[in-house]
């Protein structure tokens, strides 16, 4: 298409160079994961095999079984699932009405709206570590250290702005005529949001929820500071604890634990890719 008069051989050489680049990039980004997966599939005797080999001689899932039954990892995973689902539900409950206001309502001054939007971006850009010190002091004074509810509250404050930002963008693409028709039929704004807009927003809600879930799954500072009891840790903090208690003869267990704590986020990401494609094609059909 772009080769123009240049000979076919040059084009082939160009494509070969691109593939060489792909292989290098693929190796750099995939190899670390493959190596850890390989460690996790070994019996202990093969941990120190020399020279090291990527494919274990006697692959086994024993490390996964041991780490799930003989360590608190299952507990950590469960805590993470609890915290993440509560956060996603609460953050969406707060973000949906906010996005409605930002997309549908007239502000007295347009500057108020852009200030609100930019303010929400700024929340993403300041490290939770900055607010961790005062939050730690208050929550200790209130006796809320080691409370999952307190952790969820902070998570929601950190993720609702991003959710609002995304949902506002999504609502802006939904034609105004849709909710105006409902309002003419006598719906209040709340009814038009719940019964007319919400069903249309479903793809946007889904991708927002998935993005929030991935980022909350990896959230580290808040639980690290606000939780001190091991049985309450989410997996991000728990696996650090697990690492500090592991040694070279349990490397396969640490590797299995690392894979298990990364797997939910990785699988969710693959679903996210599908959703993005889905949202795009749905828009094309409607457009």
């Amino acid at each position: 298409m772009f080769g123009g008069p240049s000979p076919r051989a040059r084009r082939l050489a160009g494509s070969a160079a691109i593939y060489a680049g792909y292989i290098v990039v693929g190796l750099i980004f995939l190899f670390p994961l493959l190596w850890v997966a390989s460690l996790s599939l070994r019996p202990m005797a093969e941990l120190f095999a020399f020279p090291p080999r990527l494919v274990p001689q006697h692959p086994t899932l024993a490390a996964y079984r041991d780490v799930l039954t003989g360590s608190p990892l299952a507990r950590y995973l469960l805590n993470s699932v609890k915290l993440v689902s509560a956060t996603v539900v609460c953050a969406l409950a707060i973000a949906v009405p906010s996005a409605y206001a930002l997309s549908r309502l007239r502000f007295r001054r347009p500057a108020q709206k852009s200030a609100a939007m930019l303010g929400m971006l700024a929340v993403q850009l300041i490290s939770p570590l900055v607010t961790a010190l005062p939050l730690y002091r208050w929550f200790s004074a209130l006796g809320l250290i080691n409370s999952h509810a307190a952790v969820v509250l902070v998570y929601v404050a950190l993720s609702a702005p991003l959710a609002t930002w995304m949902l506002t963008g999504f609502l802006d693409t939904v034609p105004l005529a849709l909710d105006e028709a409902a309002r003419i039929d006598g719906c209040t704004r709340l009814q038009s949001l719940l019964h007319v807009l919400l069903p249309v927003m479903l793809p946007g809600l889904a991708s927002t929820a998935i993005l929030l879930a991935i980022s909350t799954w990896g959230q580290f500072i808040v639980p690290f500071v606000l939780l001190t009891r091991g049985d309450l840790y989410p997996v991000s903090v728990g696996i650090l604890d697990y690492q500090s208690s592991s040694d070279s003869v349990s490397t396969h267990l640490l590797a299995a634990a690392a894979i298990l704590s990364a797997l939910p986020a990785m699988l969710t990401f693959l679903v996210l890719q599908r959703f993005i494609v889905g949202a795009l094609t749905a828009g094309a059909v409607k457009g």
Partner: protein, 303 residues
């Protein structure tokens, strides 16, 4: 007269038409758990507060003592090197991979989308897991894969994380590995918006692939590159979770970047005032960078 009518109409606006009524839960939450803490940490930075129950006094001592502290200066140096090298690596590799993927798609080569997905997988991993993965790769015993690779290249008993200079190098490499995906996806999205006619015109004028990249792609990406630069600078400044399992800030304090420094001051040394002062400096840098970001964003939209 008409103006007065409009005013009363505005005052009588039903509650469901007022944005604030809908935004109230979000604003309350952000006010209590974000804005007020920011104010409180600023206040604390001007006190000599510790974890002791004794009432704190207002003072500038925290800021003054930081400037004279050799630890603070060493941390600034480590953070500066870490951030500068990380953003350079992420921008260059991100741009390179984005160009590779785009060129592959243009030539309809199978596999371009797969490469994009592989790079992105590293980005969704929790930071702690990334730290553990690199710690396992960089195991200095004979069973470590990088140590083995180094021995094939003739280096016996290589040192990765147990000496200051290599440790900072490898922490930076791990961070580039983590962050390149974000730069790649931004540059990729930017390249997709470059009008195809520009490339066709450049080809007609006799430009090769490298010249097309230099004279068509790069100038069109200027705005996106700037935004990208601001965002990854902030993300790298805030890096915390990945370093903990990898080096814990060590050996010594060789990889103690600013976020770890704050954490140690506050939660190990219980020097709340000094920790808050560093946090305020970090917040100020973040706010200045956010303002740059907002400025670039608005200019790009206007253009």
């Amino acid at each position: 007269m008409a103006q007065a009518d409009a005013l009363t109409a505005a005052r009588r606006r039903p509650i469901e038409d007022r944005p604030l009524a809908w935004l109230a839960p979000l604003f309350l939450l952000l006010g209590a758990l974000f804005l007020y803490p920011l104010f409180d940490v600023t206040r604390l930075s001007f006190t000599d507060a510790t974890d002791a129950a004794a009432p704190a006094h207002y003072t500038f001592a925290s800021y003054r003592s930081l400037l004279g502290s050799s630890e603070f200066l060493a941390m600034t140096r480590v953070t500066g090197i870490f951030v500068a090298a990380s953003i350079a690596g992420q921008l260059v590799f991100g741009l390179l991979i984005a160009a590779l993927v785009c060129e592959g798609e243009r030539r309809r080569l199978p596999g371009a989308a797969l490469v994009r997905a592989v790079v992105l997988v590293g980005w969704v991993l929790p930071g702690v897991v990334i730290g553990i993965i690199w710690k396992l790769l960089l195991d200095e015993s004979g069973a470590g894969i990088m140590a083995y690779a180094a021995s094939l290249l003739g280096a016996r008993n290589p040192i990765f994380l147990s000496a200051p200079v290599p440790a900072l190098f490898w922490v930076t490499i791990a961070n580039v590995w983590r962050g390149t995906a974000f730069s790649m996806i931004m540059q990729y999205a930017g390249m997709k918006t470059v009008p195809i006619e520009l490339y066709e015109a450049a080809t007609v004028d006799g430009a090769g692939p490298l010249q097309r990249f230099r004279y068509v792609t790069l100038p069109s990406l200027r705005g996106i590159l700037l935004i990208n630069l601001v965002l990854i600078t902030i993300a790298t400044l805030n890096t915390f979770d990945m370093v903990l399992p990898l080096t814990g800030g060590g050996p010594g304090r060789a990889t103690e970047v600013v976020a770890l420094y704050i954490y140690h001051l506050v939660f190990s040394d219980f020097q709340f005032g000094r920790g808050a002062a560093v946090a305020v400096v970090l917040m100020a840098i973040g706010l200045v960078l956010s303002a740059c970001y907002a400025h670039i964003l608005q200019r790009e939209r206007a253009a």
